[in-house]
Amino acid sequence: MSFEEYKNLWVFVETEENEVKPVGYELLKPGRELADKMGANLVAVVIGGKVEDIAKKAIEYGADEAILVEGDEYYNYTTDAYSIAMKTLVDKYKPSAILIGATNNGRDLGPKMACDLNTGLTADCTGLDYDAEAGNMVWTRPAFGGNLMAMILCPDNRPQLGTVRPGVFKKPELVEGKEGTITREDIHVAADQIRTKLIKRIEEVAEAVNLEEAEIIVSGGRGVGSEEGFNVIRELADVLGATVGASRAAVDEGWIPRAHQVGQTGKTVGPKLYIACGISGAIQHAAGISGSDCIVAINKDSEAPIFDVADYGIVGDLFTIIPIMISEIKKLNA
């Protein structure tokens, strides 16, 4: 395998029903830095139904160019259609590395591509770097429930593949009107090549929980004590315009739906402010919030590990502290 042929850094920008998944744009941020280190072009690969506007936007978010594949067969994700399209593109353009958002679809596509291309894939990365001397990507990811971090290389195969968690990187600045080439590739996958059929889509409308994109998150843990206990968490979230999160302990107790779960097995988040209420801060939870700009911990136990990862802390009963905070914040907002 001659590595000289393999150039450029690709970011797979996932779409569904002609809408972008935010992680695609997020990855253009580390993508830009890595491409500059590599002396390579940053290429957004956009596949979907009608998604040219997303390709344009990817360029405004920092990509040098975009490759666009459109077709009805890509309106919804299928392993077969997407992997055939990606394999065709990789064979033609030979990228050195591809970043894929670690959504369910991204984590479905990545391993299929790794097999099709006979190369290495690093799952669920939280850190990305480029070793210029060796010419390799350095993928950092948590393992053993977040207890251990591992740096992974793929030194002898190209392209190097990695899935990256949503919420780890923040969307880059949008430069309106920034121009770049959009190359349209006419790749079509016949219906009989697509072995899975979408029968119907069930949207859970109960409560939209968008933790990955939240600017402020107020999270409750075991210390919240009950389903009713979450009322005070919600109240604080309301005055702050925040999204409600929860630790695994609170979710397992059934106090709040799993969609709110933050941590290694839940969502990885990167808000400007994360307020952890009654959360001890087990390593699995800490791993999921490490991308936050500022972490505030409220806990009765001054020895709780959450204080090791927090920027500000207060020791005491959350049911005393939070109502006071709410009234103080209301005064500020007034």
Binding site: L198, I283, C294, A310, G313, E328
Partner: protein, 267 residues
Amino acid sequence: MRILVCVKQVPDTAEIKIDPVTNTLIRAGVPSIVNPFDACALEVAARIKDANPGTEITLLSMGPDQAKDALRECLAVGGDKAYLCSDRKFGGSDTLATSYILASAIQSIEEKDGKFDLILAGKQAIDGDTGQVGPEIAAHMGLAQVTYAAEVTVEGDDIIVKRESDKGYDMISVQKPAIVTVVKTEFDPRYPTIKSKMAAMRKEITVITSEDIPNIDLTRCGLKGSPTKVRKTFTPVKNKNCVIVDEGEVETSAVKLVEVLTEAKVL
């Protein structure tokens, strides 16, 4: 109907601690368990078997001899027979090499026992957390895959999967044979009975070595056959200096906290 369930024996990562002095994982005394997602996959298989009498569930694992314990546990809750891929030549395999070995083993089992209609696995193992081996087995075998299944039912030649999506669920149908990976299901895996445990103890677990897989390409197995390499491992750093707001009374501290956060322009 013939179902294969892939099972991994893993350390209970909830019990793992970090040695504060050496900063390494303390594995001593950490119990080995059946990967919880694989246990869910087995329960999905057992429910299909309940609904479709005559279904046979085969179990497959890869690992050292000790992994037989995990297979026995699974034999006691629905599994009919079990195979363990175990060979020093398989050690150090990454996901691509592991899936190649498992796919090769599955094909050699199929030659003896007949084709599988459905292959199930957990969405990921809790030690590695990659979620790649299932889909990679599918790709090696040329089978269709559906990942992140919360429910699986069989209707004639179709497998119907309720798949987790970003907004809820997608109902997906795929023709047999296919590979489906399973999330933590709404229902808990069933418990063994004393009788089923006794029966599981008496069952033979067939060990598959590289010599039992005639066409296996050993250059694709083990550390050498793995495209990814671990450069180093380290424990996550905790280097933040937490500012503890303490004004004596907790009420005063709470007021002060909002003040501090406002000054820091966090609020």
